[in-house]
Subunit: 219 residues, 2 copies
């Protein structure tokens, strides 16, 4: 379920497999020409949208899309940075991470099976449309990390400073759960622990923030 | 209103002016010795906490504190980076920004009057206790920026790359509203626009992410 003018338009622009669009009369009056012919269009009242919406401030358009299937050959070197998320469970964080990955040019994110569902409406919302461009694969993270050829960096509270590590054109950045970090099993598969040096007193950074800060330094 | 074991303990540790603590029998059994004598303690049932809580998963302890008043002499040079927030209105973003500011060693944040209330429970939650350490001042941002002596950098979608700007021991980083960025009036008071170069396709970054990424490069 995709809500809101901006994100629905991004889904249309990226040819995401939308099945149905439900929108108010005024939204359709302005935007109907954008909608490809094969998509079913339903005109609805604001009250109907409000009932269906997951948002606190309902938007004039909702789209229903098929969940896109992604398959990938993990054995091929890809010359790009990849994210590997180990148990991210806040939907806002996952969406924000996808948005940042898209900003920094990443094309692939591996999620462990215990990450929050990428099709959770809050993930879609927080991704601001980046979910339609970045490939997100739910995998057995342990098996997948064993197969990937790139160097694996663990985002950690100790480890080498991101300000001094050697730049690499590719690599896998592993980011762990909000409360518990990266599981021991996954950490043992990583080649290097890296950290964002702390100058103040916060105990940690938000997971999406930490992931994005590291990407800005390594990519 | 401060919820949860971790944040309530941070509030106690920083001597934040807590008036009352309501907690379950088992929380009090473990933690009562931590609570200073002048704070009223009420033992409550889990059901009572659930009714009072703002969280989806209620925690065993809630504290009620006085809103701490902060006054500051804007004319004194402070040799530190400062944040100036122009219309941040998502509570999760404001809390996350406060947490990042605390991580990177900032001690002061100016908020325009149209920023979300820093005492909003979602701000407190997302700040993970950093709200007790960082001074947050609601000000007429225009008048305040006219008075501060440090160089003012505007976080923007165009401008000079954060990867190449000259490092400075102090400065004011101005971050704008999630949808509209920095208002023209405030932008005109800034000395330099700076940006996080984009490599991919996302239209923008989350405001808290952008703020944190820039801090990691300039501080």
């Amino acid at each position: 379920m995709i809500e809101g003018d901006k994100i629905v338009k991004e889904a249309i622009a990226t040819q995401y497999p939308i099945k149905l669009i439900a929108a108010t009369h005024s939204w359709l009056a302005t935007n109907e020409t954008l909608i490809p012919k094969h998509i079913t269009v339903v005109e609805t009242s604001e009250q109907e949208i409000e009932r269906a919406s997951n948002l606190q401030t309902p938007q004039p358009v909702i789209a229903i899309a098929q969940q896109r299937e992604i398959t990938k050959d993990h054995t091929k070197k890809n010359n790009k940075w990849i994210l590997a998320l180990d148990g991210i469970n806040d939907p806002g964080n996952l969406g924000t991470i996808i948005r940042s990955a898209d900003w920094f040019g990443l094309e692939l994110i591996y999620c462990s099976h215990d990450c929050v569902d990428v099709f959770n409406p809050k993930v879609i919302q927080a991704s601001m449309g980046s979910i339609f461009r970045v490939d997100i694969l739910y995998v057995d993270l342990k098996e997948t990390l064993k197969k990937v050829k790139e160097k694996k960096y663990a985002a950690s509270l100790q480890g080498n400073s991101i300000y001094t590590i050697k730049k690499n054109i590719s690599g896998v950045l592993v980011v762990g759960n909000e409360a518990n970090g990266i599981s021991q099993e996954i950490l043992s598969l990583c080649d290097e622990e890296i950290t964002i040096p702390k100058r103040g007193n916060a105990e940690s950074l938000n997971a999406a923030v930490a992931c994005s800060v590291i990407l800005s330094h390594v990519v």
